[in-house]
Symmetry: D4
Subunit: 248 residues, 8 copies
């Protein structure tokens, strides 16, 4: 119900086309229902290029299949995160163009091609154990319509490998750093580039790592400027955030 609709309603009131009692009721309902709903709906889901997203953890194979079946009717791109291979097989049956990233545990379905921006997101990680998070971020960034550069295996323990890739890192519009253990990579990158850095602590490590808590604290306390942090292992969140920035 937009401005014009209100105007029409009032005109109907004026010329007696609607009873005042009913008009009062419609106006009373307006703030938190129709208009409110439309506003929100507009601002996220209906916009061109935003995929439908489903977080599969804690859902059954059947639930995931049903939700995606419904989503398919809307002709948007679709991204399912934390999806098991079994879920993918169930989705594959109802949608042959679905693709599965085994490491990143994502299902992606491309219904229309996005026009990519010129700028790109750099996704940097330290070790091979961080790859699942890297892949989740990568698939998310792609389906949201971004160019992406992956630079993996450039940990702090062998800092020269990082310097060798510095040019491509500095060329990005926004940088995602994914690191477990002590997460020092985020600080080092933060000190070397002049772009927003989104740090993703991973649960890679053991002992006093406490499931990624060590890397999380490390990144939050970084002495380098320009770093913000998302939840542990949250590759999706980092890429979603980076995509927003990349498209500014």
């Amino acid at each position: 119900m937009d401005k014009d609709d209100i105007k029409k309603l009032l005109e109907a009131v004026k010329n007696g086309g609607i009873e005042i009692e009913r008009a009062v009721k419609e106006i009373e309902d307006l703030p938190f229902k129709d208009l409110g709903f439309a506003v929100i709906d507009n601002h996220r889901q209906i916009r061109t290029g935003y995929p439908e997203v489903i977080y599969c953890e804690g859902k059954t194979v059947e639930q995931v299949r049903n939700i995606i079946e419904f989503m398919l009717t809307k002709e948007n791109n679709i991204l399912a995160t934390r999806a098991s291979e079994e879920m993918f097989n169930a989705v594959k049956e109802i949608c042959s163009e679905a693709k599965y990233n085994k490491l990143g545990r994502t299902i992606t379905i491309k219904k229309r091609e996005e026009t990519l921006s010129e700028s790109y997101i750099a996704i940097i990680s330290a070790g091979t154990s961080d790859l699942p998070v890297v892949e989740e971020a990568y698939e998310t960034a792609l389906i949201l319509g971004n160019k992406v550069e992956k630079i993996v295996d450039v940990g702090v323990a062998g800092i020269h490998r990082l310097f060798a890739r510095l040019e491509v890192i500095r060329g990005a519009k926004v940088v995602i750093v994914i690191a477990g253990m002590e997460g020092a990579l985020a600080s080092v990158i933060g000190g070397l580039v002049d772009k927003p850095v989104i740090a993703v602590p991973t649960s890679v490590g053991y002992g006093a790592n406490f499931g990624g808590f060590a890397a999380l604290l490390s990144m939050l306390n970084s002495c380098a400027n320009g770093i913000s942090v998302v939840n542990i292992d949250n590759g999706f969140g980092a890429a979603y955030n980076a995509s927003m920035i990349n498209k500014l």
Copy 2:
């Protein structure tokens, strides 16, 4: 030592103006000293508009004064955070145009006017107790050359006040949300806007708040997309990050 300097050196080598042995030495020293220094220097401090920053916590009044005295020679804008009133008084003596934000505990010295971008950063907070962090973020964003809109006192407990300011929030290029206690404001804003949100947990609260840890966890676990988090009470870090995004 930049490109031209290297060229001159090589020309001197070619026409015998310098001995090869000495040239070898100069080049060998170059990576990690002069050039390296210059690269970094270039990419951050010397760039137009970047202020010199000093974090005053744990420094003596005298140290702060001396560091700023040295900074003043470079003719850059200057920002001192976590500065006490006593520090300000000491700085005032050597630089009369220094300004103090008592709530935000910042000293700012403007040596040149920045051209502001059209876009702006929105800084949103819930309660009056969050104001010190708001002010630190505000002063930081200003001295970094951004337009800023402050929207304070729009907590979740009275959500209608937030909706009344929704338009100006949605108009921002990037949004900083500053909240203590349970930090729910970040999630609510994250669900209402389509811009990157940088969340700053504050140490405001008591009991099981654990010095801001409750708000920190809350923000990291936000169910809304597009939110990244900085350290507790880190208004400076949020604004620095937001400024990077605002200037993209």
Copy 3:
């Protein structure tokens, strides 16, 4: 041993029907044994409408079956929480009217119909992953003799959906809010309704969620008034508490 029994005893003393020594003994034993027992027994289990409750976690199938078999002799309604499907099958054999809520993992046996109060409990949750806790609370509230309104999938990230259901939420006598991740829903509801809100943090989430600890802290620190909190995933406890309030 109630008032009348004491009277009878004293009359027997008076007319010599019992020796004083024996009467002293009976009275001496009275405080912590018979009467004490009766008082407690009266105040909870024997009262009309209170079901027998069994918490199945950590018990064997056989133990659960035996306890329920014994309970069945008392003709009360029965509620078993955290019950596995295997437990249900064992119970089904001895009581054909037993019902199983698979999501909520509850077994309920209705021996008599309660007269429901006019007022109702609203159970609100954010995401589908919270449903097991919702269902435990729902079955508990029902067997305790309450009318219940379930409003699920109204998370903070899409706040318009919440507003669309506001009327039914505000109509409740007491509100249960079940939320995982950052638990911000409790604060938002607390700011919108004027009834007691019982918040249940769930262990839904990952990373820095720490098994529901993030939501727990968030709810305890809520900036909205009128919110109290029960243990993580404790749908039963919330409903028990809400039922007490709903029946006042």
Copy 4:
């Protein structure tokens, strides 16, 4: 702007007393501003008997004085919590009927007398060290218009004293239990009464008490039913919640 106001506006539209363009504007602004504001306002502050509340922690004496000065214009009762004696003195100057509870650190100003309900809230605590929280809860419950029974110094270590007061505890409509150290009192009360129990952990204790965290965990894990918990030392929150229940 309530229902009647809308009706009047529409009637003015109908009979030409207002231009349609201006009416559109008023209606458009209505959801998130006037009506929204009114709705919330209505549901909480304006309702008879609800005091204005101000949380003084982290505010300056001057801020507190100014806020209360403004509140005084509305002729509502006023409650200030976590108020220092210095704050009280400043308030006293502008409002001679202000009263200070030194232990509970509350300032109360009574502008009109509430009709008290017949039912009462019982506030129970274990030791004299919990008294500040008791007093905060007590003053809050009173100004919100409740009858209150205080039963202090009935800790678990001398359980007979508790039993001696059982009748008055059981007579309450809702019970607040305030306890520090191991907080066992909440469980014991929960096992003895059949009313909703709101437990308040206090920061009283030392060593592995961790500022009330031990009591908080203890209460959340209570084996007794019907207990919900508020934040550490949050006497105000408990009383606010209890008042809601007491007035049902």
Copy 5:
């Protein structure tokens, strides 16, 4: 109301000296009031040799003075723990034989001499920083009527000093070990003696000591048998416990 009182009451009932109705009432009140009270009272405070104890932390000087003034009327020994020097001075005014242990922060008043048992309690500690806890334990053990041997400064880092005192340690009936930092002393003593060991972690240390939490965990996880633990810095609790054992 003891056995004899009940007998008298029944005799009065028998010979008509009291009406049955009134006797019913007295008996009904009995469990949780008079008798209950007496039972508890008897079992702890009235027994010969048990001092009155007052925990001064969080109490005002005036409160401490008043409580002790009342206690003095009962002619028992008195122990006040966590008492400031100012408190002592106030007590001194009303009781000249009061003694103050400055390190242990205890006030003791001896009203009658206890007959000490032959056996003794050994109190062992590692460093001079643990002395306040040692002294609190020492004064407590003394006033409770025990012989005590103090063996201080026998830390693990110089284990030979410990061995030099082994005989006196092994001669004790029960051993209190007081240690901060990593609390290893408890395990070492536990491995060397064949008596119950009560371990007291102290808050002595810094960094990752976390206010005694490191020592607490260390002691709870001791690989030696026969060790139980009390709260951090709880010298009183350890001595109270040890006294119970020493008097068996």
Copy 6:
């Protein structure tokens, strides 16, 4: 090497039966080897009535069997804790009189009968879920040669059941209280009896119980005197400690 051996050595020195150099060597080795060894050996393992103990967690079936096979040669009683049924079967093959307590996961082998003391240990617990720890404590206390009274299912939520057993509890020389969830039972018992209480927190519970941490903190912070605490689920440790006290 005892006193007599030293004497013999010196006599040999005196009458030339041994060279001084060799005697020096033997004496030099003495402190930390032979004598030291004997002292320790004597004080624990060789003493009549002490069983050999083996902690099976983290050992293989084969290791357990081999260790017990070796122990059997010494003709002492044997106690194996945290033993799986598979381990028991392996032990059964080499020792037919071995007995298995399935709930308590203990293997016991009685080689000689102990003379029991007159006094007894009371083992008290709240719920059926605590039974594994109860049984471990029970078997340990028995094999160490104690009389034991088990009082289970007397939780705080139904405090009358506890009072009904008070006499037998108060008759014990030392009391073990085993409780999970909020562990309030320890405080209640501590307030009712005048004997040393050893509290065992169990890992029974969920949510904010944190694997027994809630009960552990609760017990450490108990407001009742005379309580000391052992590690979570450590039934063995409690019984070992209680046995030491019971035999004093």
Copy 7:
């Protein structure tokens, strides 16, 4: 690109063998690419005697096999830690001289014999449950070319066994102490030897051990000097560190 290469380049510049523009480019690239790379490479991997190391946790069997296949081409010794038996079998197929330490979960491949230093590393542990970490440290120390003395089963609860081995412990150049539970062994050793002690907390224990956190805190807070700590269960890290020290 080393010193000689730079010299050659400059000579080519001097005698016109290379254009200045191209030489500028080569020099400009030098710091962070070629030379940087060489420096790092040299300082660790290429040095004689350093094995190639692979951390297998979180890698697939195939990945481990492929990485080792590649490593084999370099003719260095190889160490794989946290390797499963399945991984070993896969490696065995491509390299028959590979050896597996089942307890320590290491695969080692010896391509050339190291000359061992005279000095040795002592590896000390308390219980059989710590053996996996002991073996990881042992294999690491060996393949790095050190002499090692293992002294296991010398826990604090039987301190005489430790003293019996003191001579061999004191003879080492550096000592590794591996202990779980309360980790007191590190402090005791630290007080007895005058060599650097590297402490490894293990996750052995239960209850309030928190996966090795108790031992970690204990070791960090050790009252003995000369102790430093590595991550929980990090036998590899301790041995790597000790090897560096042993070879000084």
Copy 8:
């Protein structure tokens, strides 16, 4: 009592200069008293170059003064850590050559000059706020007789400054890295040098730094090899450890 003393005693036994009974007594006392004491004493304090150390935290000015007065009689060098200026003034009165390091809070007294080793310890830190810990480490290393190189202000955020000092860092025999905030510096240094690195987390930082816990976890989880960690702010411990290594 050393080897020679034993020999003399035995010779006295042989030639009848001492009675066997008395010799037995002396030998019996020897292990845990004289010899034991001597062994320990020898191995630490009496050795040339080891200073007497006193940790002043939690001691009174008078205690510190008295302890040092006693130490002065032994003619060793003396180091007091965590000493206040007031303590220094008191020490100065009894020993004019005492020196105070205000930042590091150390008092040092040099009684004899040590011969320094050729090798040196490098002490590296990131920011000026870490200087107190740097200075404590520095003074400790000096008084223990080491050459030291301090390299401060080489944080990760400006990594080029670190590279500029790489040569002097790599030249050290052992490296101490002192860093607060996220402690990433340790990992970066660990990846660049081939020497043992002792990492000291400092409590510098705020918010989610948790008093140095963030840096501590970061360092324990370092992905670089060769790093071990000491307690937060423990500059003394790091230097003591480094000195042991430097002197090997």
